[in-house]
């Protein structure tokens, strides 16, 4: 043991510089894992135990329509019995515009109306350290997010028109309780007093207001109250969310996010591991004579194996520590990078111990797993090597096969551990293996394709190709790593481009790009007139579409019989609330697949046409009867047809349930509209403002803004994948530098012989440039080819959008990869050019 430790220490003293990039390979991956895990854990820690602040209460009763008086009475009775307090809150997407400027444009906002005492937990933080009090909201005060000030060009003290009322901006909200992290937002948050909201006219029929009752419950009564309330609301349009469930949801969400992100880190570590494996193989080759000497003076194979395994362990651990340090540096930069990602929430980012321990463990494990198989070659070094050079081609022996199987199993286990799921872990491991094999095969084929160049008349070109295809060349490993990185980057960039192009194409097509919500029956004429007055010439606005909310509460059919809502709830999504409409004929994106559509005359007998998905999923057929609850009224409608809806063209409306005119007209309902707004931005703003003026409760959603929001999400995803791709390319380049360093001794010797035979430094430099240039072209080509394949497959099968190969982008990817690989390859080989031949030959 003493010998093993002493030798490991001595060897490391001599070879740590050569193995420097060994631990840089590991460090990059470990750094990625530790940083990604720490970020997620920091976010989770910020929220840990603060689930109450997240919902601003112990529990919330939420409903998107006013509760029946008898339910309210029951709630009050339950709360009183439990000794609980409660207050109301309403959330509502609506429009806001400057109150004092006629031309000021309107913006969609997420309004929250609260009562005195809000919040029960957490705190409202206002800009300028202004303390929050409900008095700021009372009498038509409003608190807004800073981005709204910029968007509407208003400031504190200015007026803001919301619905039919004028509010005064009294403060700027920096952070608030009850804001879910990462939730999709359609506009900046504004806070108003609940009593004032009721005077705005925004809570009329069809309003998308989410009614909330925030509860504060003594601990002892909490669980029972929640169980009772849930039982009360089982068959109602309301649900009860407790802070405990929120805590569980958040825990699961974060665990999933953490595991997925860690897999990204693991892919980088595994690439580093491939680099480690490659270095170890070359290292053992270089150490053959020393190993033979040690065997000659009595060392056993097992002792020598232990010497090198100990070295790998120390280097792996050192690399992992370096990775933790890199992660620490990255964490310093995170707050400024992610500042915009969590509006309204303050998070302290720091490395976490669990992330550090995992990172160190993974770094060590990957180092050992990837170096073990090449290290086994130590056993085959024969001391007779010292008497004569002998090159033996060995077939893998039983030990090597068993160890390889164990290593592969270990790696799959590691992936499963990091993914936190056997299925996902196995899929990722399988995917990685398939990609590696595909890249390896592609590398081999490409290499074969360039072999004829080895017969070129050009000395430089001939030798460049020979260098790439010689035994022991690290080409495949570099191709694998650099190719994979450029594949990530080019792939995600072309996918992004295809998606954005597709959105733009759809927007430029002659299709609706503005949506109106919550138009009341008495506003229909005014709204239609306003639209007609503002549209571009030749554009005719389609009529507004009536909509109601309904819930299936029973089905009497041939294959299925659901007596009541409780039975319906057992059928999953059938129990959800649907938006329904009525019209006399089919829309352009619909066709009948069973039964037949009604004649255009209204009928008193309720008839409904159902979408194919509903028919197939819940086995409801033509002739069956569905009972709907429409605003408390039960309507039993006969299914007279099954429709297919082309959802990709559903921006003019798509409905699961379509009623025959004649029944629903009598029920209170609102209207929505789809129109192609003016293409001029000023004209669009004028139309929005005019609509809000004639119908202040109407929300006008601009499709272009939604596209901008989607674009920014796509941009963020692209950025994230590009960062990962860059890290992979970086690992690939590290492997390249390592490969060059490890084989440099041979290259220096060969260059010395060439120089002795008359080759100039320029000629040798040309060989190097061509060699690494070719390597770069192959790696870039593999990346670009794979990226085009990936974009095609995702466009065709996942996104269902037309595929357009982006030749310019792919070519740019190949060029950048080529230049990078060539520059780094030649720079790392500088010594090959500089060393004097005599000194080299003497040393040999």
């Amino acid at each position: 043991m003493r010998f093993v430790l002493l030798m490991a220490a001595r060897e490391m003293r001599a070879s740590w510089q050569r193995l420097l990039f060994f631990f840089v390979c590991i460090a990059i991956g470990v750094g990625a894992i530790v940083a990604l895990r720490s970020v997620i854990q920091s976010v989770r820690n910020t929220f840990a135990g603060e689930a109450r602040s997240l919902i601003a209460a112990d529990a919330i009763i939420a409903s998107n329509q006013p509760l029946k008086p008898e339910m309210i009475a029951k709630i009050d009775q339950r709360l009183e019995a439990a000794g609980a307090k409660s207050m109301r809150s309403i959330e509502l997407p609506t429009m806001a515009r400057p109150a004092d400027r006629a031309e000021g444009r309107a913006r969609m906002v997420e309004l929250r109306a609260v009562e005195r005492g809000f919040p029960y937990y957490g705190r409202m933080k206002l800009a300028g350290d202004v303390p929050y009090s409900h008095a700021l909201l009372e009498n038509f005060g409003v608190l807004v997010r800073p981005e709204l000030l910029a968007q509407l060009d208003v400031k504190i003290g200015d007026g803001l028109r919301i619905g039919s009322q004028r509010f005064t901006i009294r403060g700027v909200v920096q952070s608030e309780p009850g804001r879910r992290l990462g939730a999709f937002s359609i506009g900046p948050r504004v806070f108003v007093d609940l009593t004032d909201l009721e005077k705005t006219g925004l809570l009329g029929l069809g309003s998308r207001a989410a009614m909330q009752r925030l509860l504060k419950v003594p601990d002892a009564a909490f669980d029972k109250l929640i169980v009772d309330l849930r039982a009360d609301f089982a068959n109602e349009f309301a649900r009860v969310r407790s802070y405990k469930a929120t805590e569980d949801d958040i825990g699961e969400d974060f665990a999933r996010a953490e595991n997925y992100l860690s897999l990204v880190g693991l892919v980088i570590v595994i690439l580093g591991g491939i680099g480690v494996s490659s270095v170890t193989r070359v290292f053992v080759q270089q150490k053959m004579k020393s190993i033979a000497v040690l065997k000659c003076v009595g060392a056993r194979s097992s002792q020598l194996l232990a010497v090198y395994v100990a070295q790998v362990a120390v280097l792996g651990l050192a690399g992992s520590f370096l990775g933790v340090m890199l992660a620490g540096l990255a964490m310093q930069a995170i707050p400024s990078l992610l500042a915009g990602a969590t509006p309204g929430v303050e998070i302290t980012y720091a490395l976490t111990w669990p992330a550090i321990v995992q990172g160190l463990g993974i770094g060590l494990l990957v180092s050992l797993l990837f170096s073990l198989v090449p290290l086994l070659d130590v056993r085959h070094v024969r001391p007779s090597l010292l008497l004569r050079d002998e090159a033996r081609v060995r077939r893998p022996d039983a030990t090597q096969i068993v160890v390889t199987v164990l290593v592969v199993t270990g790696l799959v286990g590691l992936t499963v551990w990091q993914a936190g799921s056997l299925r996902i872990g196995s899929l990722v491991a399988g995917g990685f293996a398939a990609t590696a094999i595909a890249l390896h095969v592609a590398g081999t084929l490409l290499l074969r394709a360039i072999t004829p160049i080895a017969r070129s008349r050009s000395f430089a070109l001939r030798h460049a190709v020979l260098q790439l295809s010689r035994p022991g060349s690290q080409m495949r490993i570099v191709l694998l790593a650099v190719g994979l990185g450029s594949f990530f980057i080019i792939g995600v960039r072309s996918l992004q481009q295809n998606l954005v192009d597709q959105f733009s194409v759809r927007m430029t097509a002659d299709s609706p790009d503005m949506f109106l919500i919550d138009v009341q029956r008495d506003q229909v004429t005014a709204v239609e007139e306003t639209i007609a007055a503002h549209l571009d010439k030749g554009v005719v606005a389609p009529p507004l579409v009536p909509v109601l909310r309904a819930r299936v509460v029973g089905v009497a059919g041939r294959d299925v019989n659901l007596e009541n809502y409780e039975d319906v709830r057992g059928r999953g999504s059938l129990a959800r609330e649907y938006t329904i409409t009525y019209r006399s004929k089919l829309a352009a994106n619909e066709r009948i697949v069973a039964g037949k559509i009604w004649d255009p005359t209204p009928s008193d007998e309720p008839e409904v046409s159902i979408e194919q998905f509903i028919s197939e999923s819940f086995k409801i057929n033509v002739g069956d009867t569905i009972r709907f609850d429409v605003l408390g009224r039960t309507i039993a409608a006969k299914v007279t047809s099954v429709r297919f809806v082309e959802w990709s063209q559903s921006r003019a409306g798509g409905f699961m349930f379509l009623f025959r005119p004649g029944v629903l007209e009598k029920a209170p309902h609102s209207f929505i509209g789809f129109l192609r707004g003016p293409q001029d931005l000023e004209a669009r703003a004028r139309l929005q403002t005019a609509l809000v003026s004639v119908a202040p409760n109407v929300s006008v959603v601009d499709g272009r803004e939604i596209i901008e929001a989607i674009k920014s999400v796509v941009d963020n995803v692209t950025l994230a994948v590009t960062v990962v791709g860059t890290l992979v390319v970086l690992s690939g380049l590290m492997i390249l530098i390592g490969a060059v360093a490890m084989t440099k001794f041979r290259r220096v010797y060969e260059a010395a012989i060439f120089k002795t035979l008359g080759a100039t430094r320029r000629l040798i430099a040309a060989v190097l440039v061509l060699e690494y240039g070719l390597l770069g072209i192959l790696a870039g080509g593999i990346g670009a080819g794979g990226a085009i394949g990936l974009t095609w497959a995702i466009s065709k099968y996942a996104l269902d959008i037309p595929f357009k190969p982006l030749i310019g982008l792919s070519a740019a990817g190949v060029v950048v990869t080529t230049v990078l690989v060539a520059v780094i390859g030649v720079m790392s080989s500088w010594e090959v050019l500089q060393r004097k031949p005599l000194a080299t030959l003497r040393a040999e």
């Binding site: 004579k289 000659c296 003076v297 008497l387």
Partner: protein
């Protein structure tokens, strides 16, 4: 000390078996010095490698100090080399990543000796390189490297020293010093010494000479008839 019976070595060359050492018997008594001589490719180094257990014989038995090494596995052979055999190579074969003194310590450390450092220093003194212990092989001359190699060969006090062309890579002055050192060691410690050499002047100092040509033993050109018929010549 050394006893070979019917030892041969056949290797595969271009898919064909090639005998590089034909069956050979050899006895070397304890304390004797044997020189194996012959032209390049005659099988000298192969024979030395077989005696050291560095390579496996195709036929025959090899006994070192009474132990049949042809029956030993790799690990047992390594242990035997560590305890009983010291090796000196033409190209020194010091471990480049270790200092001179560490190179000498290694065999003792493998054998688990506690006094490795003190003894390595004593051996450094014995080979006249008292103050060069902390130099790396690349910082030493060829002669110095070979003296370190001799000190390493002596580390575990082996009864047998095998030297493959120990002066073959040195100038005549350094070669003479190294040879004197080997002979001194042999005299002072009473070890058995087997030398492979091209150099007649080196062979001349040996007690016995074995001449090889094309893998076969041939009668010597000088000295008395060998103890083993037809193979050895004695000064």
């Amino acid at each position: 000390m050394i006893q070979l019976r019917g030892v041969s070595k056949t290797v595969m060359s271009g898919g064909q078996p090639l005998t590089i050492l034909h069956p050979l018997d050899l006895d070397v008594a304890s304390g004797r010095c044997l020189a194996i001589i012959g032209p390049s490719g005659s099988g000298k180094s192969t024979l030395l490698g077989l005696i050291a257990g560095l390579d496996a014989a195709s036929t025959g038995t090899i006994a070192i100090g009474g132990t049949d090494i042809t029956r030993l596995d790799e690990d047992a052979l390594a242990r035997l080399r560590g305890e009983k055999i010291g090796f000196v190579f033409q190209f020194f074969h010091l471990v480049p990543s270790l200092t001179a003194i560490e190179n000498i310590q290694v065999p003792m450390e493998i054998a688990g000796r506690r006094d490795a450092t003190a003894r390595a220093q004593a051996l450094l003194d014995e080979v006249g390189l008292h103050d060069r212990g902390h130099h790396y092989p690349s910082q030493l001359s060829g002669g110095e490297q070979q003296r370190i190699a001799i000190a390493r060969a002596l580390a575990n006090d082996p009864p047998l020293i095998l030297a493959d062309e120990p002066t073959g890579n040195l100038d005549s002055s350094n070669g003479r010093h190294v040879l004197e050192l080997l002979l001194h060691v042999r005299r002072s410690r009473g070890v058995t010494l087997v030398l492979v050499t091209h150099d007649p002047s080196v062979a001349a100092v040996a007690d016995d000479r074995l001449v090889l040509r094309d893998g076969k033993t041939v009668p010597g050109t000088s000295g008395e008839a060998s103890e083993v018929p037809g193979t050895l010549t004695r000064s």
